[in-house]
Symmetry: C2
Subunit: 359 residues, 2 copies
C-alpha cells in the first residue's frame, strides 16, 4: 500500500493507494469518529461494492443511500436525497459520510457532507480512475446547474481517501480512458517526465497492470497535491489544473450532461488548448501532435462533437468560473510540462481553434 499525504494544515489527510484497501476495516475505524455512518453510492457501484464496504463497518449504525448513476443526476434535487437519508435517520454532526463511487458520487457526497449541519466528516472511496486521480485531491465538491457545470459547491476536505486499484478491474474501457485524460493533464501542466513515461507505458495502464495503475494514481495525486498545497482555494496556480476544462465543461454542457464523459470532454479540451497554445506562438507543431497522439492511443476523442458550433461553445465558455467581469480566461501551454495562469485570449484565435475542428 502506498500513502500520499495531502498537507493542508488542520485539514491534512492521507490517500491510501493499493489493492484491497477498501476491504481493510482498520482504515475505516481510524478515520470514523462517531457511531453513525451514511454510505452514499450509485446504482452501478452498489451491486459491486456496497456490501463489501458495509461489511467493514460492523459495530457502526451504517445506512446507505443509492443515487441514480450519471452526470445528469448531479443536481440539487438528487443531492436532497442525501439530506433526506441523514435526517430520516436522525444523523448528528458527528456522523460520517462515505462517498463510494466515481467523480459524481464523490462531488455530491462531499458537497452533502460540507452542507449537512454546516459540515460533517466524510471519507472518499473513489471507484473510477478519474475520481482516484482527480477528485481524491483538493476538496472540490459540488453539483451542476442547468446553466453551468459545478457552479454550486464548496471546498471541503475528506478525512481520508481509499483508492483501490483492484476495484478498477470492474471499470469499463471507456471509463478507464476517461480517467487517463486527467492523468495526461498532469504531465502537460507540470511533469514532462511523467508525460514521457505515459507515452512509453500507456498500454500497460490500459491493460490494467496493477503496478502501472498504482504508479499512475500515486504520481497524479502527488502532482495535484503539490499544486493544491500551494493554493488550496484556487487563488493562483491551482487554476492550472483546469487545463482543457473550460472547453471541456462547455462541451459537456452543450452535449447535455451524461452524453459525453467528463474525461472525454477534458481530452478534447486538452487538444483544443494545445492548438490554441500553438496559435499563440508557444507550443511547437510537433508537441501538439504528441498530445493528440497520446490522447488517441488512450482511446480518447480529440475533436468536439459535430453538432456543437463554435458560437455555442464560446457562449457556454462565457460562464466559466475563471472568467473575470465577463471576459473568457483560459489556461494554455507554454511547453509540455509548463502551463500558464488563466489569461484572456484573442477571440479571433479562439474562434480559429474551434472552427478548425468543426470542419
Amino acid at each position: 500500500m502506498k500513502i500520499v499525504q495531502i498537507e493542508l494544515g488542520q485539514r491534512s489527510y492521507p490517500i491510501y493507494i493499493g489493492a484491497s484497501v477498501i476491504s481493510d476495516p482498520a482504515l475505516y475505524r481510524k478515520h470514523i469518529k462517531g457511531r453513525q455512518v451514511l454510505v452514499v453510492t450509485n446504482d452501478t457501484v452498489a451491486p459491486l461494492y456496497l456490501d463489501k464496504v458495509l461489511q467493514q463497518l460492523e459495530g457502526y449504525q451504517a445506512v446507505s443511500v443509492i443515487l441514480p448513476d450519471g452526470e445528469q443526476f448531479k443536481n440539487l434535487e438528487v443531492l436532497n436525497q442525501i439530506f433526506d437519508a441523514c435526517l430520516l435517520n436522525k444523523f448528528g454532526r458527528n456522523a460520517t459520510l462515505i462517498a463510494l463511487g466515481g467523480g459524481v458520487t464523490g462531488d455530491m457526497g462531499g458537497f452533502a457532507a460540507a452542507c449537512y449541519q454546516r459540515g460533517i466528516p466524510f471519507i472518499q472511496v473513489p471507484t473510477t480512475l478519474l475520481a482516484q486521480v482527480d477528485s481524491s485531491v483538493g476538496g472540490k465538491t459540488g453539483v451542476n446547474h442547468p446553466l453551468g457545470k459545478n457552479m454550486i459547491g464548496a471546498f471541503y476536505q475528506p478525512q481520508c481517501v481509499l483508492a483501490d486499484t483492484l476495484v478498477l478491474g470492474s471499470l469499463d474501457k471507456r471509463q478507464l480512458s476517461a480517467g487517463l485524460a486527467e492523468v495526461i493533464k498532469y504531465g502537460l501542466i507540470r511533469d514532462l517526465e511523467f508525460f514521457t513515461w505515459l507515452e512509453v507505458n500507456i498500454q500497460h495502464v490500459l491493460d490494467k497492470d496493477q503496478e502501472a495503475l498504482a504508479y499512475v494514481i500515486e504520481r497524479s495525486c502527488r502532482n495535484k497535491a503539490e499544486v493544491v498545497e500551494e493554493d488550496e482555494t484556487e487563488a493562483s496556480v491551482r487554476a492550472t489544473l483546469n487545463l482543457g476544462h473550460t472547453f471541456g465543461h462547455a462541451i459537456e454542457t452543450g452535449a447535455g450532461y451524461g452524453e459525453i464523459l467528463h474525461g472525454e470532454a477534458v481530452a478534447i479540451g486538452l487538444c483544443l488548448a494545445a492548438d490554441l497554445s500553438r496559435r499563440m506562438g508557444w507550443l511547437a507543431n510537433n508537441d501538439v501532435d504528441r498530445i493528440i497522439m497520446l490522447c488517441k492511443r488512450a482511446n480518447l476523442p480529440v475533436i468536439p462533437p459535430k453538432n456543437l458550433t463554435s458560437d455555442q461553445l464560446i457562449q457556454l465558455m462565457s460562464v466559466d468560473k475563471k472568467n473575470m467581469d465577463g471576459e473568457i480566461r483560459l489556461i494554455l501551454l507554454k511547453n509540455i510540462g509548463c502551463a500558464t495562469l488563466p489569461i484572456g485570449v484573442d477571440p479571433k484565435l479562439l474562434h480559429s481553434t474551434l472552427e478548425n475542428y468543426n470542419h
Copy 2:
C-alpha cells in the same frame, strides 16, 4: 457610527452600526472588489430599501433578485433562484452578493454566496433587529429542510455588515420584539449587566429610541463576537448561543415554518430552558420569573402553541444539530449570565417542563 470588528484572522470583518449607514456609498466601495453585484432581497423589503441600495452602486453592474418573504421560502428551491440570477447574468467568482433583508434573506444570501462557484464575497445589510444582533455575527448561513431547520448550510463570513438603525423605523412591533428575544439571550448566557440594563430600559428600545437601539445592537454584536472569535465552528462555547433554540426550532418546525416568528419561538425556548434549569436545581424560582417577565414586557410569547404536544416537540428536538448519536442535548442556565455547554438531560425532567406549559 459605531464599528464592531469581528476578529477571525483572514476572515475578519467590520459591522457598521448607526443611522443611514446603508446610504453611504463609500462603505460599499470599500468592500466590493469586482464590478458585478447581485442584490438579494425579498418582496417586503424591496419596495422600502432596494432603490436606496442600488443608488449607492452607481458604476457597478448591479442586478437584483427579489425572493418571496418568509421562513417558509427558506429552502433549496428558492435558493436556486439566486443561482439562476448569477448564471443568467454571467457572474464570475469576483462578483459580490449583497443580502438586503432579515434573517432569512441573510441566511439564504450568505449560503448562496458560500456555494456559488464555491464561494464569492458577500455583504450583509440586515433590515430587522433580529438579523442585526444575530446573523450579523458568526457566519452561519443556510436553508431549512422539511425535516429540520437550518439543516443545510455553511459557515461563511461576509466582507462587512451594514446595520442601519433608521431602517428599523419601518419594522413592525412584532418583528422588533422577535429581535429582542436574541438580545435577552445574550444577557442570559454571559452578560448579567446587560440583562439588568434591559430590565430597566426595555421600553426605550420598544419605542425605537435611536440611541437605545444602537446600544442594544452594539452590545449584542460584541457579546456574540467574543463567543464566535473563541470558537468559530461551534466546537464548544459557541453552542451556548443556542440557548432556547433547540426548543425554538422544534416549535417553529412543529407550527409550520412561517406560522411563528423565529424570535418568538426562541423566547418560548428561553422560558422553557429556564424552567428546565430550575428543575435541574440550578436556577432560582425568582430568576425564572425575571426571565419570563422580561420576555412578556418585550411583547414576546412565553409558552408553546397549544396544538403542539410534548411528544411532538421531543420528536422534533431529536434531530437538533447539538445532539450526539441520537441523544437530545441542551444548553441550560446555571444562573442569569451563565450558560452550560450542551448536556444530555433526564427525559423525565424535559417532559415535566413541556407538560407544565401544555396545561
